[in-house]
Subunit: 515 residues, 2 copies
């Protein structure tokens, strides 16, 4: 085995595709002017880690190619060995949605992968939980304070008696009233609240707290009535509550019956096909598309082969690569659904005076991603190589198996919330810059794109994909390892964010106005 | 003193203005057909409590007048004694903004009210706190989980040593990244985050937690550097943090220095003019405009006379009454600013396919408010009778004294958050249907519009204004009582929501798209 330190002290770059005329610098701390790579290329100027170097002189106006795709055009001549900086790259137009070939390069169904299982909770609706949680749905923000007080008392007073229950989650949000509930797009947050309540990790034990006078009346959520004899909505304005204490007591009482049933459950072997794994990236750098996201893509292929559902998302990080996905769509119908979601989001952004380039962050730039095209090409690597089987709109529950595009904003927490609503029971989150991300409703496996981050944050990063850049591991090695880690996490092994109870709040996607 | 029960068993209505051709039924449980009022009017049909009865026959298409103002037009003939139901009232057009007389009926400056004080915390910037809180600002949602973990440890491990500090508030929100930060309107959430950090109840002891790669970089918040020698931003991606424990420890360490200084402060007498009182209503019914909101309006006049700042807000609940306010503006310039904010919001709603009528809730309807016009006329009663001194845009800090319109959405939590950003140090919240509202950053005095609610929720409602409807108290009595209660709450007496630590999360107003 090569010495890892030696491996990185030698100037080293990663070129993804034979057609690329740029590559990214691997070495920690970047490389100085004059640094010489094994191939003989010398740096004309200093280049930071993860930033791009020109492998050949690129004329002004000529295409800059990474991942075998044009990520932009040279704003001026870029000599061989020079730093291909953000301000030297002009942004191309996004692919025109009406001219994209659909379902033209559909990958053949991959070889099935049999025999992989995890220990999960079997639900009545056929889904499987990876955690055994009590979820308390809320119809409106007005009840959030009360539900927080009640949830804290449930944790302290009730949970110790129900050791098989992993926790209680207050599904608080800022929707439900003070919003234009009949405006176009309002169906998105409403169905999100409904489907969050039905996440497999809540075991079908739905309970909801309503205020009473809110716009989002409980009936409008359309939650299934599983036990007609048993009420599942507490209305705080109900005459039966004679004080605040009564309201909290009513929530505790309703929770207790559900905790008894949840506590009677046990983990059983479930096929890997019961997994619904949401893929996401946040705080991306130029390594994300080379190490972490391809690892996730490899694992996604394994999951698809095992019959599971893989969700990938983030419309603005797919928009510039949509021609690659349209061709991979399993049918023209699926391809058209993809284009429809892209067009909807184009319009949504335009209405607000923005476009997909607003996605790009200071951290992305610092991390070497010149623009949204380069970011998107790295981002879609998470989708692996299988056919795109289905497309879901934000807030929808996903029932299909295989690779599914769930059209969500790229905002980490909105995306996570929508993936949970889609039925996600395990989450993979890749990061280059590092983010202490966590969700209360499902285990999150955090994957770093660089070894330096995994070393600096040993108690936050679950998986180091940076080994790929230094040649210590292959994408295949890491993909299999991550696949197995997902199964372990699904079986109950706590991820770092769960160990610290590091949970971000839900964030609903409401494209309609507030009133 | 009359027997309160006898007072309500007699059929009774409230007519607000001599020109009104409708009045609202006072009696608990409503009144049956045939019920006869003291004036001789008999009900032609049953009318629920708080709903309107026609005092004379109103012809089809004729104006329905309440508060001396047309709230709608009869959809069919409404015989004397009939129920003026929502479906029998046609919505009028909102006042055209370009034709409203400005500063034409400016009230004379009211007689100053001297000698009223509260016990507050004097701040270096001249403001005064009503609570002594440590606020931890966040630039982005990515750090929220970490800040929650740190805040919980601060409460448990540090606060017991600093008994003069009332608490620690994590200023978590869903902004900062994954948003179109350069789109029109993005300045609103950004300046809101800035100004929340500068709320008088944080004593100028600013500290902020940043991730590092987020769009909302700490510098962009433009927080004032009060102690150049002392860092006030912790960047979680900083190389100095070698693990999650390091991040939390750094937050605790920064918090501790601030807690020492906050703990050294003591309450001192402050003139009532140091108060910045935000007025708001939520879960309104037809009594809100007759009891609770006029009580608040009376107290608002007293506060203005004492030199304080009174904020009233909720654009969609002012829109239909804006002609009344335009005339009261202290100058044409202030009047124009009011119209500008209204026009901005009209446009914002139209862009999203909605208008001000989207404000109206099922609870409003049940509570007898037929439409947004009737709701608005009740809502503006909170503003009292003094001249409109200034208008502020959402997210702005308010420095003017007197009555100020802060142009916010009516959404309770967005409005509360924006009033806190404006510098609010005491909050008054009126409710008809009842809502267990609370804020962590400032005391909230909750005022019920009906005695029945105050009785049912004795441990949530701080003030019962329902006594006005039953004739047991006058608006003047209640106004003075509420004014004194505000001073007491400002001096440290805990309101009900504080006793239960019943705190709703901040909700930023972001009119721009998410990415």
């Amino acid at each position: 085995m090569p010495d890892p330190e030696a491996a990185v002290s030698q100037p080293r770059y990663v070129r993804v595709h034979p057609a690329d005329n740029v590559a990214i610098v691997v070495n920690d701390g970047g490389l100085p002017a004059g640094a010489r790579f094994e191939c003989g290329l010398s740096l004309a100027e200093a280049v930071p880690q993860a930033h791009k170097v020109a492998l050949q002189t690129i004329a002004e106006g000529a295409a800059i190619v990474r991942y075998g795709v044009t990520i932009g055009f040279a704003a001026r001549e870029l000599p061989r060995g020079s730093w291909v900086r953000e301000d030297r790259v002009l942004l191309p137009e996004p692919p025109a949605l009406d001219r994209i070939p659909l379902a033209t390069v559909v990958p053949a169904p991959p070889e099935p992968l049999r025999g992989f299982t995890f220990q999960g909770y079997r639900n009545a609706d056929g889904s499987a939980g990876t955690r055994n949680l009590l979820g308390i749905t809320t119809t409106v923000q007005c009840v959030a304070g009360t539900v927080d007080v009640a949830a804290e008392r449930i944790r302290r007073e009730l949970l110790p008696r129900f050791p098989n229950v992993d926790g209680v989650v207050a599904l608080n949000h800022t929707y439900g009233c003070g919003v234009a509930i009949n405006a176009p797009g309002a169906e998105i947050p409403i169905r999100t609240v409904r489907h969050l309540a039905l996440n497999p990790n809540f075991g079908g034990e739905v309970m909801a707290v309503s205020l009473g006078c809110e716009k989002l009346q409980p009936e409008r959520l359309g939650l299934p009535v599983l036990r007609p004899e048993e009420p599942f909505v507490i209305r705080l304005q109900g005459e039966e509550h004679r004080c605040f204490g009564d309201m909290v007591a009513a929530i505790l009482q309703m929770a207790e019956r559900r905790l008894e049933r949840l506590n009677a459950r046990a983990r059983v072997p479930c096929p890997a096909s019961d997994l619904v794994v949401g893929m996401q990236c946040g705080g991306s750098d130029a390594f994300s598309g080379v190490t972490a996201n391809p690892t996730v893509g490899y694992a996604a292929d394994l999951l698809v082969r095992a019959g599971a559902t893989v969700l990938f998302s983030e419309v603005t990080e797919v928009r510039d690569a949509v021609h690659l996905l349209g061709a991979r769509a399993v049918s023209e119908e699926v391809g058209r659904a993809l284009m429809r979601e892209m067009a909807w989001y184009d319009d949504y952004l335009a209405r607000g005076g923005a476009d997909r380039s607003a996605n790009h962050t200071p951290g992305n730039k610092r991390g070497g991603l010149s623009n949204i095209v380069e970011k998107a090409l790295g981002s879609v690597a998470k989708s692996g190589t299988t056919a795109l089987r289905a497309v879901a709109a934000p807030g929808e529950r996903v029932r299909e198996k295989g690779l599914v595009f769930l059209a969500t904003p790229a905002s980490d927490f909105i995306c996570g919330t929508l993936q949970l609503a889609a039925g996600m029971n395990a989450h993979v989150f890749t990061t280059g810059e590092g983010t202490p991300y966590g969700l209360a409703m499902a285990p999150v496996v955090k994957v770093s794109s660089r070894t330096a981050l995994a070393r600096r944050w040993p108690d936050l990063i679950d998986f180091d994909a940076g080994r790929i850049a230094t040649g210590q591991a292959t994408i295949e090695d890491c993909g299999w390892e991550l696949f197995r880690m997902i199964l372990e996490a699904a079986s109950g092994r706590k991820t770092w964010s769960e160990q610290w109870t590091l949970y971000n709040a839900l964030a609903l996607f409401n494209p309609a106005p507030v009133t």
